[in-house]
């Protein structure tokens, strides 16, 4: 299969996945008990006219299939509907929160990948030593710790007990800074704790996967051959072992994106971080279906997109995929 056909096939598969998720999201919210009109209008005293007006405004006056058709049609024009709670376009609300989450999740992910992969390589290389045992246990512990709990503990230690980092939020409103550097430093202080917490949660898994993947590769015959050819340790690792061992990690990174959102809900809730995770939690408690639907779609596209990228990346990393 040539590159173009491969891309087209993968792209169509991605589109189908997204479409199925859109459909499931839509009907999932519609079969939940309770009339959404009660969320929109908390005033039972409202006149029948106003009621009809609001129903029409939010497209609740049509049948379900018609509603679905209108929803699809609007999606193509970039209209995600209007929030029940904020009475604003869903897309605007989501976009407002994207930067905060990308900053937090992005920094934490990059940090955890770098550290995780490095530690994984070191542990694999030093397998069986005391360092390996300690590293492995720590990774396992980090991997299995509940996100919410770690976040609370971090707040307790660094923001309550030692008070070297702020309690939460992205900054303290009403404060102005004497210099640009002071502002940057302050922003960094607010970002530090949630990022480190998130990175801690993520890093264990990367260490474990990297370590076992590298160990497996090192057992391969071609590694023995390379060693016999007199390739130096460094080149052995860089040229022969790492490229092969990275494959599972790339898959993991792409798949993880979906789970990261779950983690973001908890981290953002503990640290009062105004990102997508918080938005999802608030929308859920308010039964703000349009926002939830928009968020689910957003996450779906992110995950499917990441997997699509991973598929392409695979072709470069693993020549076998080409055949």
């Amino acid at each position: 299969m040539n590159m173009r056909n491969y891309l087209v096939t993968k792209f169509i598969q991605a589109l189908i996945t997204v479409f199925i998720v859109i459909g499931m999201n839509f009907f999932l919210f519609r079969i939940m008990p309770g009339d959404p009109i009660r969320v929109l209008i908390r005033n039972p005293k409202i006149s029948a006219d106003s009621l009809a007006r609001v129903r029409e405004q939010f497209g609740l006056n049509e049948g379900r299939l018609v509603q679905f058709w209108i929803y699809l049609r609007d999606l193509f024009t970039g209209d995600f509907g209007s929030s029940f709670n904020y009475r604003q376009p869903v897309l605007d609300i989501i976009m407002e929160r994207v930067p905060a989450t990308v900053l937090l999740v992005g920094t934490a992910t990059v940090l955890s990948i770098i550290i995780g992969v490095l530690l994984g390589v070191i542990l694999a290389w030093k397998r069986g030593t005391r360092l390996d045992v300690i590293g492995l246990s720590v990774s396992l512990i980090l991997y299995s710790m509940p996100t919410f709990w770690v976040a609370i503990i971090m707040v307790m230690i660094f923001a309550v007990y030692w008070q070297i980092f702020p309690l939460g939020g992205m900054g303290l409103p009403g404060v102005f800074y004497t210099s640009y550097w002071a502002e940057l430093a302050s922003k960094g202080r607010y970002l530090f704790l949630p990022t480190i917490t998130f990175a801690l949660i993520l890093v264990g898994e990367y260490v474990l996967i990297m370590r076992s993947s590298l160990l497996e590769v090192m057992r391969e015959d071609y590694m023995l051959t390379a060693r016999a050819k007199g390739v130096s340790n460094r080149n052995l690792l860089r040229r022969h072992a790492l490229p092969n061992a990275m494959l599972p990690v790339v898959t993991l990174i792409a798949i993880n994106l979906g789970f990261i959102v779950g983690g973001a809900i908890q981290i953002e809730t503990v640290f009062s971080w105004p990102g997508l995770g918080r938005l999802m939690y608030t929308a859920l408690t308010n039964r703000d279906y349009p926002v939830l639907q928009g968020l689910f779609l957003f996450v779906t596209i992110a995950v499917v997109g990441a997997n699509f990228c991973a598929d392409i990346l695979y072709r470069y990393l693993d020549p076998r995929v080409k055949s």
Partner: protein, 542 residues
């Protein structure tokens, strides 16, 4: 192994960065007197026509003014109206307005703005405000600072019109459908002491002092409402001095604050205008799907005797609350009726005696059987949103099983419960009300006209309805109070609700930075009340 040399380097850089970050924090300054208030709920909108949460109302109270306000004894005092009078019939009200008041954008405030606001809401039946202006037949502007309002009949709660006055020059251009729809009002223009300058959903809302405020510029330069997603973190922010006040503190955290006894933090267990009740389905209609036993007053009264409310409050609410009796909470001292010996306090023997006499005798497996041969077994619906109510429900189940009544507790979300109520498909549920300053609206909830509207137990009593009509038109305050006492007595006697607790408002605030906190009413909270005295009167401690 050369390639790992930079790992220690990376760690050193990271460490350095974090140390630098902590060190650099000195380069900040507060802009004079900033007042931060922490809470757990997002402000849904700045548009008064669509808001409903207490937090959003607080921002509205600071942005806009009403014609009148209340003092600490809940007497009506001037606000935008400096004086008013009513004619002998009690239907023609004349308001004399403050002169020289300016909108936040510099335009002058006049009687036209008042007329516009009331008519805009009346003609378009907007929001919760409609009820207050519905009876206004004719509004006439006599001059820039005088207007008259004619009502179709005497209205006892006048002039307490709980409607924020909006600037005509801005709102007249807003389509009423938009006003109730997606008009964001992100830069609200009012006459109030503070104006919104920054509204970041899910993060904070920043307001700055209005230099031209007609009652004088507040001493606070900024008021910032900060949203927290975690109560413990919010409490800690108060302790560390980041916040001046936190409200709606859960019992557990409040108890910890009380016990800590920090000299700079005052934990205020204030009365609030809200109560929690156990409501029965008393809808005497073929459409009702409730258990017919509950139409029998004896059963409802027996259930009330069987409930140990103090125990419910002590355990489920950690002791924060007061055993409740009538529809009007004691916060409204003037209107609240003290039942005295008529109050049915915990007495399970009495409960059993009443049930025996009414023909509900014990059958097999401990449950009583009604005269119709059916078991006394009912479903109690609980909101999943309230863990406190869920705790209460478990206890109620035990208390009632002791007298031979079976309860099945079912936890559902508020939306589903609302639907079930309107379908008449329930036996009983626990929920609560938030009561207006004037008792009319809470008393109205139990009238026959409100069935399928505000009523949630479908109580109907012609005597009660007639008293309600009468009290609404009685302009003499004391005479009206007697009528309202009587209504409370009748509703209590019929036991369509078992009033469980008068809920407190738990707040905690710092006393080391500002002074001049005002509780309104006297036993009430310092903020999130119907007035904004605290915001106007707080002064920094030098």
């Amino acid at each position: 192994m050369k390639q790992f040399k930079w790992l220690p380097l990376l760690l050193v850089v990271l460490l350095f960065c974090s140390v630098a970050l902590t060190g650099c924090a000195g380069g900040t300054q507060e802009s004079q007197h900033v007042f931060r208030s922490g809470y757990m709920r997002e402000i849904e909108s700045l548009n008064p026509m669509v808001i409903w949460s207490v937090q959003a109302y607080e921002v509205m109270y600071l942005t806009y003014n009403f014609l009148i306000s209340w003092d600490e004894d809940l007497n009506v005092i001037p606000e935008l109206a400096r004086e008013w009078e009513v004619d002998e019939d009690g239907t023609l009200w004349t308001f004399y307005l403050q002169e020289g008041v300016k909108w936040h954008d510099g335009e002058p405030f006049t009687a036209d703005d008042v007329k516009f606001t009331y008519e805009y809401i009346r003609d378009n039946e907007l929001g919760y405000f409609y009820d207050y202006v519905a009876a206004m037949e004719e509004i006439e502007v006599l001059d820039d600072y005088t207007l008259t309002v004619k009502t179709d009949e005497p209205i006892a709660w006048m002039p307490q019109v709980l409607v924020p006055i909006l600037p005509a020059h801005i709102w007249s251009e807003i389509d009423p459908e938009e006003a109730e729809g997606d008009f964001a009002n992100d830069n609200p223009v009012g006459t109030g002491p503070f104006k919104v300058v920054e509204h970041r959903k899910g993060e904070y809302t920043r307001m700055v002092a209005n230099d031209d405020y007609f009652k004088g510029r507040p001493a606070l330069d900024e008021v910032i409402f900060m949203i927290y997603a975690n109560t413990d973190v919010m409490v800690e922010a108060l302790k560390q001095g980041e916040l001046e006040i936190i409200s709606d503190v859960p019992g557990a955290q409040f108890k910890a604050l009380e016990d800590a006894a920090d000299p700079n933090i005052l934990a205020l267990n204030a009365d609030s205008p809200s109560f929690t009740e156990l409501a029965f389905n008393v809808w005497d209609d073929p459409g009702s799907l409730g258990n017919p036993h509950l139409l029998d007053k004896n059963v409802r009264v027996a259930i009330e005797y069987a409930l140990d409310r103090q125990e419910l409050i002590d355990v489920a609410l950690m002791g924060y609350g007061e055993v409740a009796s009538t529809l009007v909470p004691p916060l409204f001292e003037y209107w609240h009726l003290d039942l005295g010996p008529d109050f049915r306090s915990y007495d399970p023997d009495q409960a059993e005696a009443i049930l025996e006499e009414a023909g509900y005798s014990r059958g097999g497996h401990g449950l009583r059987v009604g005269p119709d041969g059916e078991l006394m077994s009912y479903t109690l619906l609980i909101r999943s949103e309230s863990p406190d109510n869920q705790k209460m429900a478990t206890m109620i189940k035990d208390m009632l099983s002791a007298v031979g009544i079976g309860i099945e507790v079912s936890v559902i979300d508020e939306g589903t419960l609302t639907d079930r109520i309107y379908e008449g498909d329930f036996d009983m549920f626990i929920w609560g009300w938030y009561v207006d300053i004037d008792p009319t609206s809470i008393l109205k909830v139990a009238t026959t006209d409100e069935i399928m509207s505000w009523s949630d137990c479908f109580y109907s009593n012609p005597e009660y309805d007639a008293l309600h009509q009468l009290q609404q038109r009685t302009m003499d305050r004391e005479e009206r109070r007697d009528l309202i006492y009587e209504m409370q007595r009748i509703f209590y006697d019929d036991a369509a609700y078992i009033m469980l607790s008068y809920d407190p408002e738990l707040q905690a605030y710092r006393t080391d930075r500002y002074t001049g906190w005002v509780r309104n009413p006297r036993t009430g909270p310092v903020m999130y009340t119907n007035v904004i005295d605290s915001y106007e009167q707080l002064k920094p401690i030098e």
